[in-house]
């Protein structure tokens, strides 16, 4: 009765093999590598770069273990750090001819040392969390209110253009929060405007009401449109962050949405928060406005007069004050790209902007009307605006390709382009949580977590083997199998291992032994009750199962609650905790039974089992069973 059919053993062997294969990559550690990623948002890295990197290495006489393309970067792995440095030099020489205008970022970092056949099986090591690896973590809140205000502002502009195009005269357009109010002199114009706007701008919900002698048409942003604005704002910010983080050359950056309006950024290997924040925390938005060039404005600029109505005073990068009109012509949303370059005729450094279709149209109209005037590109960081550049419009610019030139060095052009690119954040973001962990602390945490698991496991194993003898050995093997499966599943899922995660592994092992204690106690009880060894084993496993299920369900309830409501470190704990409960069910019941069956199952006339002393209440019947 205690014999498994062959297929059950086959399942166990397969589980063991799969467990071993997927756990294996975690033991190889990391080797030095060189990572090549794109320095420009417009430059996409593809598999063709692998060939160029290989050529560069061959030309430099450096031998790499392999060069491979992984999603958005190319990595070459080297045997030691000396070759790594030589490799980096060779790659830089071939791919980055001009250090001032690099197309590629070449950075030193680490790659898994596990052999290629494992990688080919998608057996990859677990990601180490920042608390084990060192690095920076930011949680950023996207300012949705400002995204909505910006949308309303843009819609107000659209309304103005639409009404002018159709020759519908209004008595003023005002924006109040996210609502837009338009005043009309007569009812007929209002009706015509309402039809037009309802047709052209479906994002707004219109209602009209008389307002004194005028007629007022009010537009409210529809909830679904507002939601769409928020979703795109977060997505656009994530994309922008990806581009910026590329510039840091980090090996495995994590940029993810969390909740409705938050973004998590994790940069392993970066300890310099100031620099990281400089790049990712540049919570900037971009606006294009016209410079007010009246006499009053000139007076206000030098501080000898009040700022004229409808204008604001800003400071240009470099210090000179400028008076700008309040009306926003374009925002960062209309800007697709900004790159530094050179003028084909004068060979001066330039900044080249690319606008989207709507932006191009507006820009053409504005430049046609304002040749010879100055426009200003403003960068807003945390509510404060700064004029990045205020060029003079020389001619009408169509087609959405704008070139800004004059009095710039190459470095300045690069800076301006970078600043303008960062302006394409759809909404400002604020850091609401920040964590840095030094690399030594990370290494210590790994050692501490590892030691906790090892010593705890050893203590349990010793106790089980001493108390339950051979059954204790089976239980210990089942526990080891549980650990193997848990690590394999975590590696397969490519989960991020953190210190709380290691604690959860330890706790899962400590709790998993419960199932084996239940089984062993039950077998002893059956033996005490006078059952034959084979019957006792059978009944022990069968009857203990319901209890094991029960106890795991209650533990799982708590685990799932943690998973549902936890965030950050708690999630890591909860995931491992839940998975640990599931793997322990399998290993404690099925695997340990398999071992027992293999050992005892064949013996038809089994006289005794090695499960420690079974004490019987009758003094004369006490005997080793």
């Amino acid at each position: 009765m205690n014999r498994y059919p062959l297929w059950k053993y086959a399942i166990l062997v397969i589980a063991l093999l799969v467990g071993l294969i997927y756990t294996l990559p975690n033991f190889f550690g990391e080797a030095p590598a060189v990572q090549v990623s794109s320095a420009k948002a417009t430059l996409k890295i593809d598999a063709a770069l692998v060939g160029r990197v290989e050529q560069a290495l061959a030309a430099g006489g450096v031998k790499a273990d392999f060069v491979q393309f992984d999603g958005n970067s190319v990595r070459a792995r080297f045997a030691d750090t000396d070759t790594q440095i030589k490799g980096k030099d060779a790659i830089v020489k071939a791919l980055v001819p001009d250090a001032n205008d690099p197309s590629y970022i070449v950075a030193l970092n680490l790659a898994s040392r596990s052999p290629r056949w494992l990688t080919a099986l998608h057996a990859l090591p677990m990601y180490l969390g920042l608390d084990l690896r060192g690095g920076v973590h930011f949680l950023m809140q996207v300012d949705m209110k400002s995204a909505l205000t910006k949308k309303a502002e843009a819609l107000t502009g659209d309304i103005r253009t639409l009404l002018r195009d159709k020759n519908l005269r209004h008595a003023g357009i005002t924006r109040d929060g996210n609502n837009v109010d338009i005043r009309f002199r007569d009812r007929e114009t209002l009706a015509a405007a309402r039809n037009l706007l309802a047709d052209q701008l479906p994002d707004l919900q219109w209602s009209d009401a008389p307002d004194g002698s005028d007629f007022k048409l009010s537009g409210v942003l529809r909830p679904e449109a507002a939601r769409r604005v928020q979703e795109t704002a977060v997505k656009q910010n994530i994309t922008t962050l990806h581009n910026r983080v590329n510039e840091l050359g980090v090996a495995e950056p994590v940029i993810q949405q969390q909740g409705l309006d938050r973004v998590v950024v994790q940069l392993p290997g970066v300890q310099d928060t100031a620099k990281a924040k400089d790049i990712i925390g540049r919570t900037a938005t971009l606006e294009v406005r016209m410079v007010e060039e009246s006499a009053e404005a000139a007076a206000a600029a030098v501080g000898s007069g009040p700022v004229p109505f409808g204008t604001e005073r800003y400071v240009e990068r470099g210090g000179a004050p400028l008076i700008l009109k309040r009306q926003v012509i374009l925002t960062g949303e209309n800007l697709i790209d900004a790159q530094a370059g050179f003028d084909s005729q004068t060979h001066e450094p330039t900044v080249n902007l690319t606008l989207d279709a709507k932006g191009s149209r507006i820009f053409r109209d504005v430049t046609r009307e304002s040749v010879g005037k100055r426009m200003a590109i403003l960068l807003f960081e945390k509510g404060k605006g700064e004029v990045v550049t205020a060029p003079v419009i020389r001619s009408e610019i169509g087609g959405g390709r704008v070139q800004i030139s004059g009095r710039m060095t190459t470095v300045e052009a690069n800076d301006t382009a970078l600043l303008l690119r960062s302006g394409s954040l759809a909404a400002p973001m604020e850091i609401i949580e920040e964590r840095t962990i030094g690399p030594t602390l990370g290494a210590e945490n790994i050692a501490k977590g590892f030691n906790s698991v090892v010593y705890g496991f050893a203590a349990i194993a010793l106790f089980m083997c001493a108390y339950y003898l051979l059954f204790g050995v089976f239980s210990t093997l089942a526990l080891a199998f549980n650990l193997l499966l848990l690590v394999a599943v975590l590696s397969m899922l490519q989960a991020t291992l953190t210190l709380p995660g290691i604690a959860a592994i330890a706790l899962a092992l400590g709790m998993a032994i419960d199932a084996n204690v239940l089984i062993n106690e039950r077998v002893r009880e059956e033996l005490r009750g006078g059952a034959t060894p084979q019957a006792a084993i059978h009944a022990g496993y069968e009857r203990a199962f319901a209890t094991i299920l029960d106890s795991n369900v209650t533990t799982l309830i708590a685990g799932v609650a943690l998973l549902a409501f936890g965030s950050g470190p708690i999630r890591g704990f909860a995931i491992v905790h839940c998975l640990g409960i599931l793997t322990s069910m399998f290993s404690a019941v099925v695997f340990s039974r398999g071992l027992v069956n293999l050992w005892y199952g064949r013996q038809k006339k089994l006289k005794s089992v090695s499960i420690g002393q079974v004490w019987k209440p009758e003094p004369d019947a006490a005997a080793k069973a």
Binding site: E433, A466, L562
Partner: protein, 343 residues
Amino acid sequence: MEFFRIRRDIPFMRHALVLNAISAVTFLAAVFFIATRGLHLSIEFTGGTVIEVAYPQAAALEKVRASVEALKFGEVQVQNFGTSRDVLIRLPIRGDVKQAEVVGRVFDALCKAEGASTSSQQITTEKGESVSRVVCGELGKEPVHLQRSEFVGPSVGSELARDGVYALLATVAGIMLYLAFRFEWKFSVAGIVANLHDVVIIVGFFAFFQWEFSLAVLAAVLAVLGYSVNESVVIFDRVREAFRKFRKMNSREVIDHAITSTISRTIITHGSTLMMVVSMYLFGGATLHYFALALMIGILFGIYSSVFVAAAIAMWLGVKREDLVRQGPKETDPDDPNAGAVV
């Protein structure tokens, strides 16, 4: 080896009143300390900044405190963390201070106090990874080293606290439903009261000693809740079985029998789990210290409460044979694997 050689049922329930009185006193003491002393919540809940720095020699706490206080960031807490060389600095949230700059400015001040200045450097580690880091003074001979920093904004903190409460409520509701479905409402109430009493006592310990109550501790508390409820489940299973088997026993005898026959398993499993947790406490370092401590207290009180408190409450609630043994013939079949757990 056999630790438990019990000849006849131990009359646990004869002492139920005394045991429950002990529980009630501990519980009330815990509530009292939580109410009067409050919890020393970590910055994850309150918001604020934590900075851990390491010195090559034992740190002069007063000097550290003085240099940080000079920055006027509000009330500063400075203490050793793990060893005498490591220092933990806690700063509250202040509306008028740019939070994102606090860490950098504090480290600058500490570095200046050591007569050096900070600089951002690109370093290649021994393993061959290029890392940018803020270095105080000369690399390799740094008088002070930034180990770790953490800043949590006020909104995040209150959300975490709220989510923590939700997680607790969801766990309690889930477990009660499960017990009510698996057994009967009296057991459900008894089980959850007994185990919530553990939770309150763990939290009471944290309030009394003013240990830091962090997210990890909250996770430990919830894990313990799920873990020790299964203890009650095992005993309730036995109670049900005994009601069926021994028709002449009264409720009190049945409960005594159930506890006696599961006590060896209870102590061995909890002992094993405890070994693992003690190992975490000893080797896990400062980060896992309070996490392991919460688990230790929880497991120890878990044995006590699920054995003595849960069963006693079920008894006071007047659990009877008729409550459990009336589900029809199929349920009473002892060979039915779904009939309930037995140990």
